[in-house]
């Protein structure tokens, strides 16, 4: 399979363009999409190529946009809705959880209801975007049955998972981490390349500790894994890639081998995705296992980039946490701060 080196942003741009070209009923809705959509995002040049019948610039009216996307999907279109920043999804929680997720079941509707909601999430490299532009949003939504949540961590996964998202019969939240936009990686050229939703990737095999990380945290965890390898600590790194459905089976198989599970989450601690991953692993383990998580503390993010930087997990803090976890029998509960 031939590959091309692309940034996450370029990879998404290419995938979105081919989806629009393949189907005139695939349409984009969003704010500022005539120019380029959300700053740093992947929609550059898309409007110029596909025009106003497929790229619909909307007023800054999220409830209106998301409701209209549902109407379009019910009418047979495949809307791709851009949220300007993933944080703003809280404005439309009812449109997503109350209407899009429930619609098929409440009406016993035959056939799919394809809606892909995509948006940039998390701090960019410089940071300091403030607490309403930097949050991790997956935990807020992973409590909703009927939803698919995708958190790609590489350019390759952005392509493979977006292709599957566009075929999903259920509404999808597709979270594009701002730092993954700038990652460079090999992307298969084959237009049929897709990654099955709900399938984790074992990024690195190991035997001492199972480390689970997604989104940008996958990259930080990979760096930590390399550091630890040099020290003789063997980490099995798993990227679940989708939060809903979560591939608990792959994690359970790994934990059965290592007996230790640490989950990295860029979001805050209480009620996070890590809590669910750990609980499931504990529920299904056939022998006692040790568990821990490294997360952002339960804090409202400050505007100051230097203050903010200290709150998110990073390669160094992950390595330190895993080291303590792997070598000691003491409880380890780490907020990255």
């Amino acid at each position: 399979m031939t590959v091309t080196k692309l940034t996450g942003r370029q990879a998404l741009n290419r995938t979105i363009a081919s989806a629009l070209a393949a189907d005139p009923h695939t349409v984009i809705l969003g704010e500022t999409v005539q120019l380029s959509g959300a700053p740093g995002g992947p929609l550059g040049g898309i409007y110029d190529r596909f025009g106003p019948k497929q790229v619909i610039e909307t007023p800054v009216a999220e409830n209106g946009i998301f409701g209209a996307a549902l109407g379009l999907a019910l009418a047979g279109f495949r809307p791709i809705v851009e949220i300007y920043s993933a944080d703003f999804l809280l404005v439309v929680a009812n449109e997503i959880i109350g209407d899009m997720c429930k619609w098929r079941q409440q009406h016993a509707r035959s056939g799919p209801l394809p809606i892909v909601i995509r948006g940039c999430m998390g701090p960019d490299k410089g940071g300091g975007l403030g607490p309403e532009h930097s949050q991790s949003m997956e935990a807020f939504f992973h409590h909703a049955p009927g939803l698919v949540i995708i958190t790609p961590g590489t350019p390759r996964d952005m392509v493979g998972l977006l292709r599957s998202a566009l075929r999903s019969p259920d509404p999808v939240l597709f979270f594009e981490h701002r730092r993954v936009y700038d990652l460079v990686g090999d992307v298969p050229d084959d237009e049929s390349f897709a990654i099955e939703l709900g399938r984790a990737e074992i990024v690195h095999e190991g035997k001492d500790v199972t480390l689970v990380a997604w989104g940008w945290m996958r990259t930080e965890a990979e760096l930590a894994t390399q550091t630890l390898k040099a020290e003789g600590i063997s980490v099995e790194l798993i990227d679940p890639r989708t939060i809903l459905p979560m591939d608990h089976e792959t994690i359970a198989r790994s934990v059965a081998k290592t007996g230790r599970l640490m989950v990295v989450e860029e979001g805050t601690r209480t009620g996070g995705v890590a809590a669910e991953v750990i609980t499931r692993a504990a529920e299904t383990a056939t022998r006692p296992i040790r568990v821990a998580r490294i997360t952002t503390p339960d804090a409202i993010l400050p505007y100051s980039a230097s203050m903010e930087q200290n709150l998110f997990p990073n390669a160094k803090s992950i390595a330190a946490a895993v080291r303590a976890f792997a070598l000691s029998e003491q409880p380890v509960g780490v907020s990255s701060h």
């Binding site: 409701g67 209209a68 109407g71 999907a73 009418a75 279109f77 079941q105 016993a108």
Partner: protein, 322 residues
């Protein structure tokens, strides 16, 4: 000006559906009075002219978004009273097999896509359907009813702004029945009017007598024609009366009996019957409509009573059928 014959035909067609809606409500009300709870049931008594005459001008391919109150809209769009009864009692063989009940009756093939759960989302969903028509260069129209609760939410502004901006073929119809559960409409909207503010968009905004089937039909037909012609949205506020309590368990002690009695003087059913007689219809023709409606309701409720409760698998099977 229409000549008298088609007018009688249209009105008698509407009258039959209005009566079907009324008899359905009377039947359910009797069940409730006998002590049997009927969850999610909201009577449409008093609003039949509006529910029916606003929908019969639509084509099959037009979309209609109904409110939770009353079933005349559904019947007028072609859903059978039997299906509505089955959905009401969560029986296998309704439109959603107990997964949404009577709050979420859906027949996409008849232009009834369903209903949102939390009031207000409807405005944007309707705008989305209208946008789909426009993008596909079809002249299908979406008609969206709304009540006091939905109409108080900001989504109506967001949706109407898009509809005006893009000249979408959508017609919003306010059911101003004087009440939002136990709150009077005038406690919630300035001077009790649910449409006045939309005049700022410089689109047609009409306030009409919602108990006059002919006025409802004519006004909606004008708005629909305008939408089909690509001239954009309209808002119609139809004034009517809710003659029944809000929901099955409500005793409506807040509704003064004298006020309800006075409102019964404007009941659209006797009023429409009288009008049909004036237009030349005979009493025996009206009686025969009444008899056939009674039979239809009787057979629907008998079938619903005999049918098994829907199971989870019934609904899932329908969902998974592609």
């Amino acid at each position: 000006m229409q000549n008298a014959q088609p007018r009688v035909e249209q009105l008698s067609h509407d009258y039959r559906l209005m009566l079907l809606s009324r008899r359905f409500d009377e039947r359910v009300t009797n069940i409730i009075r006998s002590g049997v709870p009927v969850p999610h049931y909201h009577s449409g008594e008093g609003q039949e002219a509006l529910m029916v005459a606003a929908v019969t001008p639509l084509r099959k391919t037009d979309q209609m978004i109904y409110t939770h109150r009353g079933y005349g809209h559904l019947l007028a769009k072609g859903i059978s009273v039997r299906e509505v009864a089955f959905d009401l009692f969560m029986k296998a063989g309704g439109t959603n097999h107990g997964l949404g009940g009577v709050m979420h009756v859906a027949r996409p093939d008849l232009g009834v896509p369903g209903r949102e759960g939390v009031f207000g989302g409807r405005f944007a969903i309707a705008a989305g359907f209208a946008l789909a028509s426009k993008l596909d260069a079809k002249d299908d129209v979406t008609l969206c009813f709304y009540g006091e609760a939905a109409g108080a939410r900001g989504i109506m502004y967001e949706s109407l702004n898009m509809a005006v901006l893009w000249k979408l073929p959508v017609v919003y119809v306010a059911e101003n029945n004087g009440w939002s559960f136990s709150s009077r409409t005038e406690w919630l909207f300035p001077e009790g009017r649910m449409s006045r503010v939309w005049r700022g968009f410089e689109i047609p905004v009409e306030v009409i007598d919602g108990n006059d089937a002919e006025e409802v039909s004519a006004t909606v037909s004008r708005a629909v024609a305008r939408a089909r012609a690509g001239e954009g949205p309209s808002v119609i506020e139809a004034l009517t009366h809710r003659l029944a309590p809000h929901i099955w368990y409500d005793q409506a002690t807040y509704q003064p009996p004298a006020e309800v009695a006075a409102q019964r003087e404007h009941d659209p059913l006797p009023r429409t019957a009288k009008r049909l007689l004036a237009l030349g219809m005979s009493q025996s023709e009206l009686d025969s409509i009444s008899q056939s409606v009674d039979q239809e309701v009787e057979s629907a409720f008998t079938a619903a009573a005999a049918a098994p409760l829907a199971t989870w698998e019934d609904g899932r099977r329908q969902m998974e059928a592609l």
